[in-house]
């Protein structure tokens, strides 16, 4: 599978240890979590007002996405033909490098020196901003969160809330420095002022950029359109003002019909932000027509594989249904203890724990499939019913099959497994273990340090057992 972008996912454990102690980050996450969870819950509960049922809709959405993933090549052909018929150009990219070379090539052909971007996680997979800068083309992120992240020289830490890891004070300090103005005291009431400040800067970029780059939430096969679901309005500017519009999407983003798109839209905004519909929903088809006053003169779709095609028909095909709502990370206890950067690559949270190993190499992200308590809070909220814990589990199995786990871990598991298959010996050993654990405990019946599991007792006291096992006591009871 293709390697996309330098991944830091091998260092999850070390990065997690840093992030879990990052006070600013923890403060930001603590604020965001109830908002994400509460808004989604309200949004899903609101379905009933429209006479809709979550379980039924979810089955319908799952079905639509399954239909596409099962016959991806057919739908892609239909989309390509319809998009071309509407006047757009369709290009294919097998990996991030090819995305970059396509975009740079288009930019050169059209004399582009500046490109405004609306959110695109695929451009993160390709590290497109770095490539554009190196080619002398200035990329400007226009989603507020992405703009903040770009100013800070960072990467997004969440797929729909890229700057969720930043506190208000951090954004104020960043804007003061980068916009060349004095630092001010800010409260939450001032957030619109900061947004307006960013808007004023971005306005100039919208008007001067020759190219707009966007992702697409969906590609509609029957009409050859890109569907864009946004809240800030920047997506409209990016896709209509510059003379060239480049849409970069994964090949799995197809939906067959507009009707299907409407069905998915019942759950996408609700799952993401709790909204019954996002502030803007754009359907972009072809180029500016003769009777239209705005829109690009040139529209190019770049349809990207970057590891996706290999998932079709594999044990991980379910993952291709993903509609990038972010609900899995919004409900993940691990994500909300660490934020997104700990995960080390483009996609954080449960979806990242599945996608990062698949797209960057299973051997390059060994911790991620294990970075889950198995709680299935992600699977329970997924609008297209992706069994995320089962996919992480399958990755764990592959690690085991390929002997990728540390030797000490494999030996310990093997020894324990052997013992568990020899009940008489197991009984003898657990009897002694119960006594040993009792002996380790202090007067209050707690074990403060356990050498066998130091990670456990670093943050907890282990309540000590009474000193005799159940089976030992039960045998004695039967004798009496």
């Amino acid at each position: 599978m293709s390697a996309a972008g330098p991944s830091q996912a091998m260092f999850f454990q070390a990065r997690a240890a840093v992030q879990v102690r990052n006070k600013g980050l923890q403060k930001a996450l603590e604020k965001a979590k109830p908002l994400f969870v509460g808004k989604r819950a309200k949004g899903i509960a609101g379905l009933a007002d429209d006479g809709l049922d979550f379980a039924e809709l979810r089955t319908a959405c799952e079905g639509i996405r399954r239909r596409v993933v099962d016959d991806l090549d057919v739908w892609l052909e239909i989309f390509e033909e319809r998009a071309r018929a509407s006047g757009a150009e369709v290009l294919w990219a097998s990996d991030g490098a090819e995305i970059c070379s396509h975009v740079i090539d288009i930019a050169r052909r059209h004399g582009v020196s500046k490109a405004v971007k609306s959110k695109s996680m695929l451009s993160e997979e390709a590290q497109l901003n770095e490539a554009l800068s190196a080619a002398g083309i200035e990329p400007v992120e226009t989603d507020l969160g992405e703009y903040i992240v770009q100013l800070a020289g960072e990467t997004p830490s969440h797929i729909i809330a890229p700057a969720v890891h930043k506190t208000l004070a951090e954004v104020e300090a960043l804007f003061a420095e980068r916009h060349g103005r004095p630092l001010q005291e800010r409260t939450a009431a001032d957030i619109p002022l900061l947004a307006a400040e960013a808007r004023a800067v971005l306005r100039q970029h919208f008007l001067s950029a020759e190219m707009g780059i966007s992702g697409a939430n969906f590609l509609i096969a029957e009409s050859g359109s890109a569907a864009l679901v946004t809240n800030e309005g920047n997506g409209r500017m990016v896709t209509t003002l510059p003379k060239v519009h480049v849409v970069i999407t994964g090949i799995e983003k197809i939906v067959p019909t507009l009707e299907d798109f409407a069905t998915l839209m019942r759950l996408l905004p609700r799952s993401a932000t709790g909204q019954s519909i996002s502030n803007y929903v754009s359907l972009l088809t072809g180029t500016r027509r003769t009777n239209e006053s705005e829109g690009p003169e040139k529209t190019v779709f770049i349809l990207v594989d970057n590891g996706r095609a290999a998932l079709a028909g594999s044990d991980f095909a379910d993952m291709l249904r993903c509609i990038r709502c972010g609900a899995c990370m919004n409900h993940c206890p691990v994500y909300f203890s660490l934020g997104g950067h700990a995960y080390g690559w483009v996609y954080p949270g449960p979806m990242g724990s599945v996608l990062t190993p698949l797209y960057t190499g299973i051997e390059n992200a060994l911790d991620l499939p294990h970075a889950s308590t198995g709680c299935n809070q992600c699977g329970a909220v997924c609008p297209v019913n992706i069994p995320l814990p089962a996919l992480m589990h399958r990755l764990r199995e592959i690690q085991d099959e390929r002997a990728l786990r540390p030797l000490s871990e494999r030996l310990a598991l093997r020894a324990w497994g052997w013992l568990a298959q020899h009940p008489a010996l197991y009984r003898w050993l657990t009897r002694h273990a119960a006594r040993y654990l009792r002996w380790l405990a202090d007067d209050s019946g707690r074990i403060r340090v356990l050498g066998l599991a130091p990670g456990w007792t670093a943050g907890r006291d282990l309540p000590a057992p009474p000193g005799k096992t159940f089976h030992e006591l039960y045998a004695a009871r039967k004798r009496d």
């Binding site: 660490l338 198995g374 598991l413 497994g417 209050s444 990670g455 943050g459 096992t469 159940f470 089976h471």
Partner: protein, 243 residues
């Protein structure tokens, strides 16, 4: 009715009282309870680690031990999930065992499910003068649909008042090997659980899975909460052991 009690490896080693409380509840309801002597572990640690062959070996061992009874009762949502939901898929391709795995899965019950759905217990022996808050363990809740059963049973405990904590369905951060492998992340998660428990202000937090309970109790004590008791559902329903 002849039952097998699968006490689980964690209860066997760490808190045998939960096994005896389960026995008292089941025998008190008139069941003939056997504790099959060769039982060790359901194999979930091997399954979670991704070691499918070892998990399958342990599943076959447990099936051989536990089949042949009218029902199997397990005082743990997590181990029940392993037997009910994992065994059948784990052994699906093993013609000699897949039928046996399915048969056992269909006969196996988490304790509160069994008391509530099969025995339809309307009286429980336990008394608890105080308030408790219930932690929904993940595998029980999302794997087996355990939500109302323990609460209905707790409502029958004389003197007991249920005080729900906020986010009672949130994971406690245990996750088996997860809590050892990523100890500090697990601690951050269980800290949020401890705050929820504190917000409920109950005398005890009650749950159906010893793993979660050890995790929660361990963190509560380290944080300095020496007051809130941490109890398994079986212990509360059965009441104090006769001395």
């Amino acid at each position: 009715m002849r039952l097998a009690l699968f006490v689980t490896c964690l209860v066997d080693l760490m808190r045998p009282e939960i096994g005896f409380a389960s026995l008292r509840l089941l025998e008190g309801a008139g069941c003939d309870v056997v504790v099959p002597p060769g039982q060790t572990c359901c194999g979930q640690p091997a399954w979670s680690a991704g070691n499918r062959p070892l998990a399958a070996d342990l599943a076959r061992q447990a099936i051989a031990q536990l089949e042949g009874y009218d029902h199997v009762v397990i005082p743990s949502g997590s181990c029940s999930d392993q037997i009910r939901n994992v065994y059948p898929q784990l052994l699906a391709d093993d013609p000699a065992w897949s039928g046996r795995a399915q048969a056992l899965a269909a006969r196996s019950y988490e304790l509160s499910c069994f008391l509530h759905e099969v025995l339809k217990l309307d009286r429980v022996p336990g008394e608890f003068p105080g308030s408790v808050t219930y932690h929904d363990s993940c595998k029980g809740l999302r794997g087996l649909g355990i939500k109302a059963q323990p609460r209905d049973l707790l409502a029958r405990v004389s003197g007991l008042a249920l005080s729900e904590m906020p986010d009672c369905e949130e994971c406690c951060g245990f996750g088996g090997a997860f809590a050892v492998r990523f100890g500090d992340v697990s601690t951050a998660i269980v800290d949020r659980k401890c705050e929820s428990i504190a917000a409920a202000g109950a005398d005890a937090v009650v749950g159906g899975d010893l793993g979660c309970l050890l995790n929660i109790e361990g963190r509560l004590r380290r944080r300095g909460d020496l007051r809130t008791r941490v109890l398994h559902l079986a212990e509360v329903l059965a009441g104090e052991a006769p001395k």
